[in-house]
Point group: C2
Chain length 612, copies 2
């Protein structure tokens, strides 16, 4: 087993556990920070400076080039270079986090968040009952607390709470509803949860409701993936099996509750002190999470059960927080464009940038939103899970053993997560590989891998030798026998390129359709915001090379990190953000590409890679 180390980031105190060899930048990302890495993690731009406060990291050659001896000794490192080999406490200066001169929110820290929680905690000490004062427990409490209504939980806890600390109690209320009565003074303890429920990944952030500070972050793979890696297979399961919905719901619920356990353990709190939660996910995930059959999303005209925001009660969802906890489910735009897109829009203030701005969230599904002139249109494309490693012969997620960076010059250089032997290739490695193969003429714009003798004459022999033919198709050796975990060369296959073309083309075509609907050209885009954990590690130049992103100057492309999580946190902490989410939904229009005759045209041309 790979040993796990904890990395705590200051000043927020957020902690994650990572395996040995994980770059600090990855650890920071898992903790919800988007580091500033314009060089794409090459160690050359010196923007992702961090300071090791506790624990040791041997400096890399790039770091020794970047920092003088004193700063090296003081623990300054580059997050993209430094690898975790023991438990660390690391400080991230604000300057190392993504920030935008254009006031575009680019990370889930740094940007001020309105903290105006609905939860109120009031500590009171009441007189004990006597023969002259045998009022009921509730009447006694209501002399000191104004609560027009109360929960059964509060009533059930009341007699014990009153008598445990000599009639000193703390009342917990939300909008006039008394949620609970706790013994003693617990006014300092009030937590909330912001959740991003993705098709593949679930990310939970535990937030202090009164300070707005993040307390802990934890993520897990959505266990629904074992029933199919995209939303359509899960909808099909609900349509075809009478217990399908219950099985999928239980799967995601148990993982969410597991994350809550992790968060409570990290933070050293009890889950009963979590009184609010906000959930953002795509429409299939949100509906399954709420126990609403998503079957109608599986057939024309792709009808969701709801689009308005939901305000639910934790116990009704079997959520492992306070049973009376208030749960906010993000509004949805329609079809497959769900609450995560709305959350991303409020996280980034997409419609307040004032110029045409595009938000692209590349996950198992690709969601695309375009804001222009006070209006928003949004769509989703079945990007497929290629970027998450699925359907790629040697594909894998971005974890230890994954080739995550490929560059080709005299030879083929790969970087493997965890500094170990290569076990497969992850999404960024796939994009890098395709871009480099294109640049070197090994891949043509149709996506065909050329024969060794067809490749440009200038191609170094060592690289040319990597092209291998099997059954009339060409493939490319990404990792040699020596670099590979199996001892056999690790290949990128022709069919892997085809999978990439499908995913890439779908995203590109979706963007084109939206631009057309607003009568805009690619160059009109003032900002292209890349959301999602994956988006953070894409090298802009390579994504532009393969045509995944609109052809805009690279400086207009911004990584915005896990915008869905950050939008959920905003909604968690202030009603005005919940209202903003509602406003976004009402002023947005969902574009159903399946009904758009132009989409198939755009899609087939977008399948082609751009000319260099």
């Amino acid at each position: 087993m790979n040993k796990l180390f904890s990395v705590t980031f200051e000043p927020s105190g957020r902690t994650v556990k990572v395996s040995t060899g994980t770059p600090l930048a990855y650890a920071a990302s898992r903790a919800g920070f988007a580091m500033n890495t314009p060089c794409g993690g090459a160690g050359t731009c010196g923007k992702c400076v961090v300071q090791i406060r506790s624990g040791n990291c041997l400096p890399t050659p790039e770091e020794i080039k970047t920092f003088d001896e004193n700063r090296i000794r003081a623990g300054f490192r580059l997050a993209c270079q430094t690898r975790v080999t023991e438990s660390l406490v690391v400080e991230i200066p604000d300057s190392s986090l993504l920030q935008s001169g254009q006031k575009i929110l680019t990370a889930d820290t740094g940007e001020p968040v309105t903290v105006s929680p609905r939860i109120r905690k009031t500590a009171v000490t009441l007189p004990a009952p006597s023969q002259d004062d045998a009022r009921s427990d509730l009447d006694r409490l209501l002399t000191a607390i104004d609560a027009p209504s109360l929960s059964l939980t509060a009533l059930q806890h009341l007699p014990r709470a009153l008598r445990l600390e000599a009639y000193s109690v703390t009342a917990v209320s939300s909008d006039g509803l008394l949620l609970d009565v706790e013994p003693g003074n617990t006014t300092a303890r009030a937590f909330g949860l912001a959740f991003d429920i993705g098709s593949t990944t679930l990310v939970g952030t535990l937030v202090d409701l009164f300070s707005g500070r993040d307390v802990a972050v934890s993520s897990r793979i959505n266990p629904q993936t074992s029933f199919g890696d995209d939303v359509l297979t899960r909808i099909l399961k609900c349509r075809e099996e009478s217990e399908g919905l219950a099985i999928l719901r239980n799967a995601v619920l148990s993982a969410v509750n597991g994350i809550i356990d992790d968060l409570c353990e990290q933070a050293g709190i009890e889950n009963g002190y979590i009184y609010e939660a906000a959930f953002a996910g795509n429409s299939t995930m949100q509906q399954i999470f709420c126990g609403c059959d998503p079957s109608p999303l599986g057939e024309l005209p792709f009808v969701p059960v709801f689009t308005a925001p939901l305000r639910l009660r934790a116990a009704d969802l079997d959520l492992a927080i306070h049973p009376e906890g208030r749960v906010f489910i993000f509004p949805q735009l329609g079809g497959f464009v769900g609450g995560d897109t709305v959350s991303g829009i409020i996280a980034t203030r997409l419609d307040r940038i004032g110029k045409p701005a595009l938000l692209v969230d590349i996950g198992t599904n690709g969601e695309i939103a375009l804001a222009h002139d006070g209006r928003i249109i949004a769509t989703s494309v079945a990007a497929g899970p290629a970027f998450e490693g699925a359907r790629i012969v040697n594909g894998m997620r971005a974890s230890s053993g994954a080739i995550e960076n490929v560059s080709i010059d005299e030879t083929v250089k790969i970087h493997i997560i965890g500094e170990t032997k290569a076990a497969g290739i992850c999404g960024t490695g796939l994009i890098d590989a395709a871009a480099e193969l294109l640049r070197n003429g090994i891949l043509d714009t149709t996506g065909r891998m050329v024969d060794p003798d067809e490749a440009p004459a200038c191609l170094p022999d060592a690289v040319r030798a990597r092209i291998v033919s099997i059954h009339g198709e060409n493939h490319f050796i990404l990792a040699t026998r020596e670099e590979s975990a199996t001892g056999d060369p690790l290949l990128l296959f022709q069919k892997d390129i085809r999978e990439l073309q499908l995913a890439n083309g779908a995203i590109r075509a979706g963007i084109q359709i939206l631009l057309k609907q607003f009568g805009l050209a690619e160059a009109d885009l003032a900002a292209v915001l890349l959301a999602g954990a994956f988006g953070n590690y894409i090298r802009k130049a390579n994504a532009l090379r393969i045509g995944m992103l609109p052809a805009v100057p690279p400086e207009r492309i911004h990584f915005v990190g896990n915008a869905a999580s950050f939008g959920a946190k905003r909604a968690l902490l202030a009603d005005e953000e919940k209202d903003y989410a509602g406003t976004v939904t009402r002023k947005s229009r969902h574009v159903d590409l399946s009904l758009d005759p132009e989409f198939m045209n755009e899609f087939s041309s977008a399948m082609m890679f751009p000319e260099s």
Copy 2:
């Protein structure tokens, strides 16, 4: 096993199952009817006329005396005389039910009930989705239904309900909350439950919410009795065992849910069509039912958790009706005077009679309420379960084999329920026996059973021979060897009389204290209302003889049946009745007898039986 027969009463259609030999009057009582039986069931007054519509009953000599041959052939019988020996359909004319010229409600039928349910059902047919109309399911519904808020259940049921009957659905709402969406048109189906949760007996009535008609009645013994027969032992269990409350709550809940199953089976409905419930019980029972620890009721100053009415949700109580069903828990007066007393007051309009009126509910606890001049005072006394057969050596409940009627003239005449051998003595039999022993000088006013030679000279020898001495105490043979199920004579023991004196004295003393507080004498009482299933079968003359009731002319004493159940039904069917319950609570004062120095005095003198 004793075979069970079903008896259906017309015109209400209520059905109960009873064992062979049960008098029809008992079956009627179990179905919630209070028959008019001024002769105390002797078959002499001819007031409890019923007509057998289906099934056979051989006429008794009393019936042949009462009815001519044509009427006998037409099925006319006396409910107090006729025994069930097969399944029957029986019509009860209104004239045979208890009714009062003084406009005092005396039974849970006959009195008009306000029917103004909170539940609304609206059937709509919506257009199916199309490519031009891909609105969410919820938006589609809300074009036709006005619902400011909705339950998660409704949302979860929505997609299937819409598609099951071609977008024809019925919306179920209550006060602006959409509770559910049902496929097709179900507007005719809406039911409610009125429950009396007694320490010993649980009675549930299923009511059609739109017509107000009773649909079915069912009752069970409260399984908490296996943990102790009075509320104090149950409070003690909650105080002393960490799981005590949960055990007791689960016991009563499973019995309540079992009754709901029975009711649904009787009525042939699904429990999902039950949308409302109203529960009335004493304060310990109501608190345990709601999962509120009753421990503070077990010590001075006897503090209840709540007195205000509660409005809860069925799922939060694990009640087996519609999960979003609205549940009303009656307000409580204080100490041990709970919702059943409030329910009894609204059932009988006690405070609207306009003259001093007393309501006495004799159960395991005795609750007493006195209304005078627009005010109400109420108290409870630990009557103990003697009247329900407990703590009496040969005591038993009023079921097959119980001696339920005792009279003494030349010899001792007993009547045994089910026309079988005597297995024990029930509450009414105990009162009868004590009254008859007093009348015949076998018992003196201190409650001592005299020696055979001390008894009056006029006592027939056959009766005198029934007095037997054991260890210096005298006891009385109620059933001879031949009449007894065991083959041994069945005795009423001296200590049984002492138990009766305690119970009797507590009730009498409670009444005296309340009268004193209002400065009233017994003779000022215009009405004495006896509530509870037991109260219906007491022979007034005997209850007056032993001093259980205030010395008023017998015509001022009225049997009001299960007033708690009827009050619960009133509250179930109209918000104004729920409000009336709240008003009653606010204008009532709870009198804690444990703090009253006069009570012990009153109690010791009330222990004595009155002079003849």
